[in-house]
Every structure is written in structure tokens, then in C-alpha cells.
Subunit: 439 residues, 2 copies
């Protein structure tokens, strides 16, 4: 008889391994932080200190939010249905200028609570005061890639640009041995970062062996601006600067053309699609089916709460699948399984974490969620992928395990004090209201 | 001191009345089936047998699903991501041909459970064996408009067409005094109903003073077919037959042009928009902002579960708002308040029920829901409309009251036995699998 720390059983396991193996009446054992067994439910062979009976639910890899600005949870609903420039200049920029470390800490904790409650186990963050984001993620027990945003303006965190690089390098050193927290170098975008900054950021990422992440071609106006300044479209500009490579992750890519898609594919650059944000801000529709057809690995992100306005990847999957079907006038485009792949194993590939997470396989870290399917809106069940994308939402996640730790059981968060976070978030939002009034 | 049956207090009331009145720290009293008081929270003046403290939540009119095929809940996820004709001919038509009354009864009960759990209090149904749909809605305590689908083919319910009219007339007579159930005349569409059928259906609706409801211009192919057969576009064909009028409700209207929009507006025809279904089946994008600009009253529907795949109107509102923003490349289009209006008071107007439901006003029937806002994804709260459309989903509905009866309290259904319905639904789905295998 084998022993394990945790046994998750009596459910259908969607492994998301390279064969897309599905195990009905399956059982999964965890020893330490690692998956030690996956197979059929056979009572007897494995004994565990803790057993989770899923009552016929679905067991799948924890979801991966490949692009967000977690602390923007505190701006949720602050300014909606506005022209982009009014939204940015009258609301987002003025309040961001007033933020401090504690604001980011509380906002990230709030976001982590929401993410765990809706099935996300890994997130990739880009924001300010990211030491606090890293600490909050660590406290929540979430796997993450975080990076301090760097641009050519003074930052409310580090001030002048030079210190932004120092801050990032310190982040990398401080967290390099942590099992959950990973650091990236994150210049904001081509229109807020000069050539020198971008080359220096790339050098740092390569020297430290960490990902380089930036926003790319989110709006039409941005592409025009880049063409005007540099005489090249965005991806060509990246090529010219020597930034294209498998270490590069580009967010959005709404306005890229065929030859840019080919350049990204040739250079193994990964892309993150953020459909809800792109729709809500009316940025446009990224050519994701064409990217996937060319072999680009595409992850899914919620972007920040100011342009979504939640962090629920289930809604994001549903939106993405339906958006591309209607946009291509083809119901077979972006099927349910593709979306689950984008939020699990492909998300892990995007973030360079596919050796440890994104699928349920023996030897990988135990990052998984359990879906309670015993609810009217998930009855009957003909196809689990279809249910997850088209019928379920974040509230259907019952348990969540990250790196072998149960972070949510029966929808109760075990790592975070939700009431305290809500209280502190409300205090911060009162400050935001003051900042907006005064701006 | 006044007395009431139910007091709902300690929340923000979104009345959706003609002034869009919002009452913070509000209180609402119900006497019998009717709202007897709405105003500020003043402890003392009203005593009630039952008090619901909403703990700072949102109190709003129950949502109205203006177009669905409730019993198709039993086909949820049966066939997704397929070309429309394969979906229809290999799955939907073969299984519908095998259905019986009990199938529709169980499927509608399952749908009612899901709808109440996600905040819907009124729905408009079109399907087969609709006496069973009416009984199921009645059992659930839901307000509804139901109608037997009529077309030029033999029906698994009533057989030949003549009997379809008899069946509908019997429905109207049997339910005419019911406080919850309303009957409509529902010919399927212009491509499945000949001119004679349509004129006869219209005559019946007008003679009985009930709505006439049909699918219209859902796909491009359908419009081409109508033009080929009748030499006219769909709305012109309706005009030619004398069907345009305030009693007419048309579902979908994806492919209608400007002059058709004007004709619908001039004749006070109401439209129901079903964005998720239109996106998932890749039918196209209905020109809803243009319809609203011309003064057409537009409601929101989920369509059936085979093409959505859930009945959650919160997701539908989010999808609709974002779809039209990106489609028009304008983030100000279809703001959050417009969507709430479409699923409350405008939905009531579409169904001809706005004298009794759709807004919270003294003298109207008490159809209302309470949203629990004490959750990470609804924190902080800057704007209640924005929260409901962009951040909330059906699981956030805590209580539901229909016609003065509490049908859900603390997410427990009081009118339906969910476990029994789930059990019976699973049995029916086993039959569906058999039918598909044999077809």
C-alpha cells in the first residue's frame, strides 16, 4: 500500500497531457508538492492523510491567467463605457499616480482571493510596486510570474528609469529560489519605452534567464504611432531591436498582420489573448485562430479589472470561443478543448512553466482544481470540455490545490482572510474616490 | 405602524422606474403579491412576518429572459463547435423527434431551477408540449409566456398543423386566469411556416389578445431563402402578410437592414436579442444599437441551452455589451445601464407585462432579486450597474421573490426539489444518448 499526503478521487480527470487523456472515475495522489499517482479509482492501494471526494466532479489543472494587473481590482467599475482616452487620462493615470506599496498589496490580495475562488492557480502580473504583488501572491499560496512595469516616465514606485532596472534586478535576486514566485522583466510597450530601454530590458532578461513581457499592438492608434516614429510595424520594430525570441511574451496583438504573425511564429514568441478587455475598450479582435494555425502558443488573460471587470477565466474562455466563431462566421473555430488548452498547458508554455504545471502528470507540481458538477446548469453532462467553456463559471470551482497545498476547500479560502481583505479594500476604494474628485 | 408580509431591507434598490431611481440604504415591503412600499430604510414604521436583511446588497427587479427553449436544457453540450446544418440535422432534429411530454416537463423544470438560481424571474418560452412547460413554470413559481411552436411539418406533439392551432387555443383558454402563466401564439419562422399558417396565427393572436412570436432573420441563408421564395426581405414579407404590429415579437433579427429596422420601429414591433447563441452558432451580429437608436424596444434572451449553453442572463448582458462595443469600435455603445434595462423593464415591455413587472414600483407585482455583494469579485463598488453587467454572474443572486413568493432564499430553492430534478434529468440524458447513437 502506497502512502500520499492528499488523495483526490471519485471524479473525471482531464489531464491536459500531450494525449489529452481523460480518466473517468479517476484518482490522483499528491506527495509533498508533487503529483505521485494518476489513474483509475481503485479503493485500497493508496492511503492519504487527507482525502477529497469530488462526488463525480471534474478534476483538471488549475487555470493560468497569462496577463493581468492584479492590484487594479481596486479600480473595478471605477470608469466604464467611456472613450479610451477619457478612461485613461481622467481616471486610471491620475489614480495610479497616487498609489503606494500598501495599495498594491491590498489590491493584489483582493485579486488573489478572487482568482483562487474562480479556479486560477497561476497568474502573470505586470504592475507597479511588484515586490508587494510577489509577497501577496506568496501569502495567497499562488504560483505567479510578476514584473515591475518599466517605462520612460517617472514611476510612482521607483522614480527614475535607472532605478526601475535596479528594482527589477533586486526582485529577480530576492525571489530566485522561491518555489511559487517567478520574476520577469516587463517594459510596458513600444509606445511608452524608447529603443534604449527595450534593448537594455532584453539584455537583462537574457542575462538572468527570465521572460521578457510587453504589451503589443493593442490599439490601431498605437500601431500608427509606432509606424510614424520608427517607420516600421510593431513586430518588425521588435525584430530590428533584436527582441524576438522564445523568451519574449507579447500581450494583446490585436492589430498584427500576416507577416507579423509569421515573424512571431518563426521566432517562437508566445502571445497572450485578452478578449474581454479588447472588447470592452473596443480595441478590436486579435487574429487568434490565424496565430494558432501558424503554430504560435497563445495563452489567455483577463487583463486588469478596470477593463474586464473580473478575473474569472471561465467567462474569458466562453467569450473568446464565441467571439472568434462569430468573427469568422464559422462555429467550428476555437472549440472548447482549444480554450481549456489555452488556460492550462499552453498558458504554462507561454510562461515557461510547462515543466512543472499546466497538466496533471506524475512528477509535476500539484496545481489542480475540482469542479462541482452537481448543479442544474451543469446537468446533463455530455462533454466535459464544452461544460467548462460554455456552461460553467468560476463559482463552480469547489477545491483548489497549488503546489500540493489546499488553498481552497469547499469554497473556503484557507490561505487568506477574506473579510479582512474586503474591509481593507473598501478603505482603499474610499481613497480612490477622493483622488478622482480632486483630479 | 404599517404591516406587510415581507420586508426586504438594508440594501441599495435599483428600481428601474422611468426616472431610474436608485435608493441607497433602501427598504421594500411586499403585501400579498404586490409591492406596497419602497423608500429609505427607516426602522420601525413597517412590521412584516418575514424580513430579509440584504446586508448592503443590491435589490433589483427579477431578470427577464425574453427568448428561450427551456426544455433544451437536456441537450446542453450534446453537440458543440459543429457546422450549423450538422448540428441541426444530426443532433437536434433527430432527438426532438423522439421527445415526449415528460421529457419537456423534466427539461423545463431543470431550466426553471437554473433560471431561478441565476436571477431570472420571468421567461418567454417557445417549444413543443408547452402545456408541460406551463405546468413546470407554475410549479417553479415563475412568471412566463409560453407558446407551442407551430410549423408546416408534423409535430411530435400535436401531429398535423390544424391540431397545433387547437392545442394553442386550448392553452390560451386553460391558462387565461392564471396570475403567472401567459400564453402566446408562436409560429416558428418564415422559412418553416407558409403564408396561410402565418396569417391564421396572426388572426388567432389578435382575436385572443395575446402576443405573436416568431424567429426572424437569424441567419444569412434564411434571408436568402425568403427572398428567393417570396421576392421580399423578411420584414417586408411580414408587412405584406399584415403581421407587423405592437402584438408582434421577433427573435434574433441578426440580418435586417436599415429600412427593415425602420419598418419594425414604425409598427412598434419588439425585438429579442440573443447574442451568445448568435455568436456560438456563428449566425452574425444583430444591429442592436441601431435598433435602439430608432426607438425599438429590445429585450435579451439566452435562446436554448443547445446553443449557449446556459441560461445565465448576467453572462448574456456582459457578452452583449462587449460584443457591440468591439463590433462598433466604440466603448460607449451599449452601456451597463442599457443592458440592465433590456433585462428588466424593456423585457417586460417586449412581453407586454410592463404594467405588472420589470421595475420596482408600488402597486406592481413583487418580482425581485437580491445580489450578495460581499464577495471579492464585487469589491469595491463604484457603480452598481457596471458591477451587475461586467463583474457579477448568476451565482451572486442570493434571494428571489416572484409574485410575492420567496422562491429562493440564501440560494436554496423553495419551490423545486433540485436533487430529484437532477436525477430525472440524468435519466432523460441517457435516453438522448441512445437516440443519437441510433440516428
Amino acid at each position: 500500500m502506497t502512502k500520499a499526503d492528499i488523495l483526490v478521487h471519485n471524479g473525471t480527470i482531464l489531464t491536459m497531457d500531450s494525449q489529452d487523456t481523460i480518466i473517468s472515475d479517476g484518482m490522483l495522489a499528491i506527495s509533498g508538492s508533487t503529483i505521485s499517482y494518476i489513474g483509475k479509482n481503485e479503493k485500497g492501494p493508496i492511503k492519504a492523510n487527507k482525502e477529497l471526494d469530488t462526488h463525480g466532479g471534474l478534476i483538471l489543472p488549475g487555470l493560468i491567467n497569462s496577463h493581468t494587473h492584479a492590484a487594479m481590482s481596486l479600480f473595478r467599475g471605477l470608469a466604464d463605457d467611456l472613450p479610451l482616452m477619457e478612461w485613461l487620462h481622467n481616471y486610471i493615470f491620475p489614480v495610479e499616480g497616487k498609489m503606494d506599496a500598501d495599495f498594491v498589496r491590498v489590491g493584489t490580495l483582493l485579486a488573489c482571493a478572487e482568482m483562487i475562488l474562480s479556479g486560477t492557480t497561476t497568474f502573470c502580473d505586470m504592475y507597479l510596486f511588484e515586490e508587494e504583488a510577489a509577497r501577496a501572491a506568496k501569502e495567497a499560496g499562488m504560483r505567479s510570474v510578476v514584473g515591475e512595469v518599466i517605462y520612460d516616465f517617472p514611476s510612482p514606485n521607483y522614480g527614475i528609469l535607472e532605478k526601475g532596472f535596479m528594482y527589477t534586478e533586486e526582485l529577480i535576486e530576492r525571489w530566485k529560489k522561491d518555489p511559487l514566485i517567478n520574476i520577469a522583466v516587463e517594459p510596458h510597450s513600444l509606445f511608452t519605452c524608447g529603443e534604449e530601454l527595450l534593448v537594455k530590458a532584453n539584455d537583462l532578461a537574457i542575462r538572468k534567464g527570465v521572460p521578457l513581457i510587453l504589451h503589443l499592438a493593442e490599439t490601431k492608434e498605437e500601431v500608427k504611432e509606432i509606424e510614424k516614429r520608427f517607420g516600421k510595424r510593431p513586430v518588425k520594430h521588435l525584430k530590428h531591436l533584436g527582441l524576438l525570441g522564445s523568451h519574449l511574451i507579447v500581450d494583446h496583438c490585436v492589430h498584427i498582420n500576416e507577416s507579423e504573425i509569421e515573424l512571431l511564429a518563426e521566432n517562437n514568441v508566445c502571445v497572450v489573448h485578452n478578449p474581454e478587455s479588447n472588447m470592452k475598450l473596443a480595441a478590436g479582435i486579435a487574429p487568434v485562430p490565424a496565430m494558432i494555425a501558424k503554430g504560435i502558443t497563445v495563452g489567455l488573460g483577463t487583463d486588469g479589472c478596470a477593463s474586464n471587470n473580473n478575473l474569472d477565466l471561465f467567462g474569458e474562455m466562453d467569450m473568446a470561443a464565441k467571439l472568434h466563431k462569430v468573427n469568422n462566421l464559422d462555429p467550428t473555430v476555437m472549440n472548447a478543448q482549444t480554450l481549456i488548452q489555452m488556460t492550462t498547458i499552453d498558458g504554462a508554455k507561454v510562461l515557461g512553466l510547462d515543466k512543472i504545471t499546466g497538466s496533471l502528470e506524475v512528477g509535476k507540481r500539484a496545481d489542480l482544481i475540482v469542479i462541482d458538477t452537481n448543479k442544474p446548469h451543469l446537468i446533463p453532462m455530455y462533454n466535459p470540455y464544452s461544460h467548462l467553456v460554455y456552461a460553467a463559471n468560476g463559482h463552480d470551482v469547489k477545491h483548489s490545490i497549488i503546489d500540493g497545498n489546499i488553498v481552497m476547500e469547499d469554497r473556503r479560502l484557507l490561505t487568506l482572510d477574506v473579510e479582512d481583505i474586503i474591509e481593507r479594500s473598501k478603505e482603499k476604494s474610499n481613497k480612490v474616490k477622493e483622488w478622482v474628485r480632486k483630479s
